[in-house]
């Protein structure tokens, strides 16, 4: 007990170091820029956080920023876009991103009743409280779990990836089959390049550049940004329009705050623990906490008609989950959402390989700076949003014909700047078209990215385990960790199906809406 107390105090100390690193004028400026850009990205229909982080990464590279600065900027973009997403959920009934889908239920109703200001305010306050809680949770859970996972050998590492794939295919998209299909496609992409076990070069078609494998940034920008522009072009041609509500003043009375406080706290706790599950992200957390809050406190049947708690709960939960999902990300190397998958890819490209080493012990400066900057980002967003929300809403008036080509230009320049390779441009364009087709077929895209990033771990650890055990397949279910993880994979894969059978309600489709773009 005493040792764990000293351990905690050491982490707190590291967090303070992180704050010290994050609080230089340059880094504060970067966090501010990141929050503003992120909010912009979140507010804009069409471009979500994945797109935002993916297209900004090559740009930060060409700016020559160091690793810590890059992480601070991109983490702020991530947080900012979460925030911006809620804003459009409330004002437009259009979730800027998947994790704020559920916010539309009560948020838009509140806006229609002229209470948009309160909805926006409680969403900001709830997010801030939840963000604080999840940073504390991360401090408590991250380093000890990281200790444990450094003892993982190939069979354990393989099984953990299996769980991540099970969760993401089961929860993303409407259909388990399509989810698995998407993951498998991603894993197939990951086999391009030099095979680590045998040194054999696979599927490069003689391209020397492909020997190092598919570049995830190129694939991510193609799949998300380019295909998003294509989809939006289609919508524009079809003439789909949105109507938005106005927010006069962003405020909330202390009575309303106290009324929502329970929902915020419960949402924070649920969100954090849902975030801990490898492969689940903020959107699932939002749905779960909304569901729970509805069952727990909706005695008068006001949920869905503009109840402030119906905004507070999911908004706190998705923010807490974003923090919680950093735990599997930093300890196991398993991202909880498309955006954190991109973050993982970025960490790997910086030479930080969560899951195969204890990142809290090996690169504490970077990791704690990242955590501290997320917290600072949270605070900054709270301060920014109150005065600036009207300005953000104005962004919605930017015409699509200007915005979409701009995004394309940024994407193309960004991708080209990473490797100066025209092959990358071709690959990105191909994935853009592919992503567009997948969207039409309702095949979820995030699992493809997860498959690409984790596919190598899956394959290499599987083969390592078998060579090391001399071909004995029971190595994967030897030891309590493996058995537990195997059971978890089965539960995660089939529980949503079974639950919806039993309750005859379609939980899956609720999750699906959330997970469509996890």
């Amino acid at each position: 007990m005493l040792s764990s107390l000293t351990a905690v105090s050491i982490f707190a100390f590291n967090l303070l170091d992180g704050f010290q690193a994050a609080l230089t004028p340059r880094n504060i400026a970067l966090a501010l820029v990141g929050c503003l850009l992120g909010t912009l990205i979140g507010v804009l229909p069409g471009i979500g956080p994945i797109t935002g982080v993916a297209i900004l990464f090559p740009i930060t590279l060409s700016l020559g920023l160091d690793d810590a600065a890059t992480l601070i900027l991109l983490a702020s973009v991530y947080y900012g876009s979460q925030y911006g997403g809620s804003t459009t959920s409330i004002l437009l009934n259009v979730p800027g991103e998947a994790s704020s889908v559920v916010t539309t239920l009560d948020g838009y109703q509140m806006a229609r009743q002229g209470r948009a200001g309160q909805a926006l305010a409680i969403s900001a306050i709830g997010s801030f409280i939840a963000g604080t809680a999840s940073v504390i949770g991360l401090m408590l859970f991250g380093p000890p779990l990281s200790e444990v996972t450094t003892r993982f050998q190939s069979p354990e590492k393989f099984m953990v990836v299996v769980v991540a794939f099970a969760t993401v295919s089961s929860l993303a998209g409407r259909n388990l089959f399509k989810g698995l299909l998407a993951v498998s496609f991603g894993v197939m992409l990951s086999t391009v390049g030099t095979d680590l076990q045998t040194g054999v070069v696979r599927y490069t078609f003689g391209e020397l550049k492909l020997q190092e494998g598919m570049d995830f940034v190129v694939v991510a920008i193609g799949l998300f940004a380019v295909s998003e522009v294509l989809s939006l072009l289609e919508d524009t041609v079809r003439g789909e329009q949105v109507v938005f509500q106005k927010a006069e003043r962003i405020w909330v009375t202390s009575k309303e705050f106290l009324f929502s406080l329970g929902a915020i706290l419960r949402g924070s706790v649920i969100g954090f623990f849902v975030g801990l599950l490898p492969g689940t992200g903020a959107s699932v957390a939002g749905f779960m906490s909304y569901g729970l809050e509805k069952r727990l406190s909706d005695t008068e049947g006001t949920f869905g008609t503009g109840d402030i708690r119906g905004v507070a709960a999911p908004e706190s939960a998705n923010n807490a989950a974003a923090g919680g999902s950093l735990v599997p990300l930093l300890t196991l190397g398993i991202p909880g959402s498309g955006t954190t998958a991109v973050l993982l890819g970025i960490l790997i490209s910086m030479g930080i390989r969560p899951g195969s080493g204890n990142v809290f012990a090996e690169t504490p400066e970077l990791i704690w700076t990242l955590i501290a900057s997320m917290y600072i980002g949270n605070l900054m967003l709270l301060l920014l949003n109150f005065p600036l929300v009207k300005l953000f809403v104005k962004i919605l008036e930017i015409p699509t014909w200007f915005l979409m080509p701009l995004i394309l230009v940024i994407s193309y320049i960004g991708v080209y700047s990473v490797n100066n390779s025209s092959l990358d441009i071709t690959i990105m364009t191909l994935f853009g078209v592919l992503g567009f087709i997948f969207r039409r077929l309702e095949v979820p895209l995030a699992p493809i990215l997860m498959g690409l990033i984790l596919g190598d771990d899956l394959e290499q650890n599987f083969r390592r385990a078998l060579v090391a055990s001399q071909g004995d397949y029971t190595t994967f279910i030897t030891g309590w960790i493996n058995i537990f993880v195997a059971l978890l994979a089965i539960v995660v894969l089939f529980l949503p199906q079974i639950l919806s059978r039993v309750r005859k309600t379609d939980i899956k489709s609720e999750f699906a809406d959330a997970g469509a773009e996890v």
Binding site: T150, R151, Q153, S154, T194, D195, L196, Q197, T198, G199, V200, V201, G206, L208, K209, Q211, E212, V229, L233, T236, V237, R353, S356, G357, P399, T400, W401, M404, P405, L408, V409, Y412, Y416, S421, S422, L423, I425, T426, T429, Q460, R464, A465, V467, A468, Q470
Partner: protein
């Protein structure tokens, strides 16, 4: 109005696609050029072979004359050639071993007054293949140019991974400084000496699982292959687990997934959790003075991970001699000794023809050992 804006957006998108296609064309051209270059290079090899055959016919006579001439030439060459715009190509991104070779040696060329400022060019891609194809195809007779190399270069030449290029197409200048291979087990391992390990492997090659930070047919695996070749054990029978780098291999070794790891001195020096059974070198290396070398134990196999330079095949003899001499002077300088130690490298001095012979032999060995694994590309 609305239709106008739509048309504009469409136009813009079309322009983007057109731009992308233009880039494609450029790419194709580049690829075409590259293939042409490679084909040219291949033809050159054929021609070279022909020339060599011709040389051999009257080689005996010439040899005497050449030797006589050499004594005079060395003096002259040092004075007769100086690179106008010296360049060192690191066939990888900044930050790796090849980059280190170019930067540290290039800096010393300049500091010791041997050359003017050495420009370091990073040319990543294809494990060095992009850089070698470019040099062989476009700058094969550039005498101002050197390229950083290591055993990884030799292995890729051996396995034909530099499509259409052969090791003999380049002039190997020299290697100065090396990391050496080690055979490591956990500190509490049942194997207390290298002999015990060899006995166990000889009794049943499948019984001991080896691993390291490279694939089958990569640097770490060759340490096992070369030893098993010397011991007359079928190398394919020894289980090999490949990890993503030496660090990952070490944690697998300490976690008990593999019994033995073949790593490098610089990766393992001072690690109390490991027991180093042997260093794959001739002489004991600084910092591991209590560990016997393979040569001491009666084996011939050594594994230096040398740091060296090679040059385009068309480099003039005067220039080649100049670079060999310059590299020798760098090796002898106290500045290099300091840079070498700082980077965990042990001393090594292999220059000129000695190095050319050593490197080409190594390429031959690597090729013979790679063949059974199907790793030599057509």
């Amino acid at each position: 109005m609305k239709q106008w804006t739509r048309a504009l957006a469409l136009l813009f998108a079309l322009a983007m696609v057109a731009a992308a296609c233009g880039a494609d064309d450029a790419a194709e051209n580049a690829v075409d050029e590259a293939t042409e270059a490679v084909e040219d290079a291949a033809e050159d090899v054929m021609e070279d072979d022909g020339e060599e055959d011709a040389m051999e016919d009257d080689g005996e006579e010439d040899a005497m004359e050449e030797e006589d001439a050499e004594a005079e030439e060395t003096d002259e060459s040092a004075a007769g050639y100086a690179p106008g715009s010296p360049e060192c190509v690191a066939p990888a991104d900044a930050g790796g071993g090849w980059d280190f070779t170019c930067r540290s040696i290039g800096q010393l060329f300049e500091d010791l007054g041997l050359t003017s400022n050495v420009v370091v060019t990073n040319q990543p891609g294809g494990g060095g293949g992009v850089a070698f194809a470019d040099v062989a195809g476009n700058r094969a007779d550039n005498s101002d140019l050197v390229i950083a190399a290591s055993p990884a270069t030799a292995i890729r030449f051996a396995q034909n991974q530099y499509t259409g290029l052969e090791a003999a197409q380049f002039r190997w200048i020299g290697a100065i400084g090396a990391d050496f291979g080690v055979v490591a087990v956990p500190a509490d391992s049942e194997f207390e000496t290298f002999e015990q390990l060899i006995e166990a492997v000889q009794a049943d090659p499948t019984s001991v699982v080896f691993g390291g930070g490279s694939p089958v047919g990569g640097q770490d695996h060759f340490k096992v292959l070369l030893l098993s070749q010397e011991l007359g054990i079928d190398p394919a029978a020894i289980p090999w687990v490949a990890y993503d780098g030496g660090g990952e291999a070490q944690s697998a070794l300490l976690g008990g997934e593999i019994a033995v790891a073949t790593l490098d001195v610089s990766e393992t020096i001072g690690n109390e959790d490991l027991r180093i059974l042997t260093v794959m070198a001739e002489d004991r290396v600084p910092g591991m003075d209590d560990v016997p070398t393979t040569v001491e134990l009666g084996y011939e196999t050594i594994f230096p991970i040398w740091r060296g330079l090679l040059a385009p095949g068309g480099m003039s003899d005067e220039a080649y001699d100049f670079w060999v001499d310059a590299l020798g002077q760098v090796e002898a300088s106290p500045e290099w000794a300091a840079a070498r130690e700082e980077n965990g490298l042990s001393p090594l001095r292999l220059l000129g023809d000695d190095f050319q012979g050593f490197a080409l032999d190594a390429v031959g060995d690597f090729r013979t050992l790679s063949e059974p694994f199907g790793l030599v590309a057509e």
